[in-house]
Amino acid sequence: MKKIIIFLLLVLPFCAIVMAQDETTEPEAPVRDRPVRSPWESGYLIDNPTSLIPVKNTLEFVIQHKFGTIENGRSDLWGLYAAGSNIRLGLNYVLFKNFQVGWGITKKNMYNDFSARWTLLEQTRANRVPVSVTLYGVMAIDGRSQEYYDGMRYNHSSDPYHPLTTYSYRPGQRLSYFSQLLIGRKFSERLSLQAGASFTHYNLVARTGDHDKIGAHLGGRFKFSPQSSLIFNYDVPLKIKNISEQREWIAHPKENLALGLEVSTSTHAFQIYLGTADGIIPQDQMLFNQNDWKDKGLAVGFVITRLWNF
């Protein structure tokens, strides 16, 4: 069933294009069907990317910050003064139309990440292309010192009480990957929604974890004034036995739910939200998030972007 849904989501936009081409053979003058105006206000929707890529040669600076969780209440000002905060600074550049590359550095695990985002299809105003289709990929390098890796030892035996073996460090074990397909639609001037599927892979995980994880994503915005919107995203790491290395789900990552407010101007977008994941790069969220939004595992966070055109 999932395969059929993914197939339909991928194929339907192309059918729309084929139909559009057939229509242009009629004698009436062809009408240029342009992409919809501002399907999103920014390339970020809290923890997910969107289909919106600025004009070619635009440089984007992004600050993403997550405070600690609200679980300690006013003792640490609902996480604002908590030690467990996380921050990412990133730069993105639009190399050519609808294709952006980026680099960022994150406090948690000292990740260095390199990303690429490509909006293959843009939704058009006359609905000839009813949805936008975006591909997103991130490769990250865990930048912690080698001492962290030297300290890791593994039990390679099936016997849980077997003495731990010595761990041999290889640089490739620092790498992790995230790839995502997003399909979005601007339903009206106020409402835009997007859904997606992702695949995450870590070269090195703990014994109780999985190297691979497939995720489902949902996000949206409701614009209530020309500059302000309510926004949300919901990312679910799926429990799929076929790709799991574990007999039972011991530390399966929790879903990431976030709800926030977005304010945008010509060159800035500001998003403030209450969300679950403590990680900022997507593969970390999909494989390691243990904060549970149903159990005070929510934290205040914000995203600020600034654009420069060249």
Partner: protein, 138 residues
């Protein structure tokens, strides 16, 4: 006596702040006359009078223009006070007497503190939508 001194202090701070706000305002110079290229002076607005573009123009105005020019084009947006040149009052008869092409040049090509918006507002239709919205400020 102490209470009286307090009121004198409050009054001094209030009038001092008021005086300083006038100084900031007076420091802002009025924009020099624009040197508009002939092609823009004679440029026709292909979307003139299209009422359906006014909401689009209003939306784009809120995103790109309002922070300096204010809600209604009075030049009283939150960033206006930090500019060296006053952004102007678009309700002025002299401003509204300009042709659409001249307003287009001023709005999207720009000069000095008025930034160029050609790479931020890509489509000509969207730019004319803003011009149409500015026309509603009469």
């Amino acid at each position: 006596m102490k209470g009286k001194n307090l009121w004198v202090l409050v009054a001094l701070v209030f009038f001092g702040a008021a005086a300083m706000s006038f100084m900031v305002s007076q420091d802002q110079k009025k924009g020099a006359p624009w040197n508009i290229p002939a092609e823009y002076k004679s440029m026709k607005n292909p979307h003139a009078g299209k009422a359906d573009l006014v909401p689009v123009g209003k939306m784009l105005w809120a995103k790109h223009c309002k922070s300096c020019h204010g809600n209604m084009g009075l030049g009283d947006g939150p960033k206006a006070a930090s500019l060296k040149t006053h952004p102007g009052n678009f309700k002025d008869a002299a401003f509204q007497a300009q042709s659409d092409g001249v307003i287009y040049y001023q709005s999207f090509v720009g000069r000095d503190e008025m930034p160029n918006f050609e790479k931020k507002i890509l489509e000509a239709e969207d730019r004319w939508a803003i011009v149409n919205f500015i026309r509603t400020m009469k």
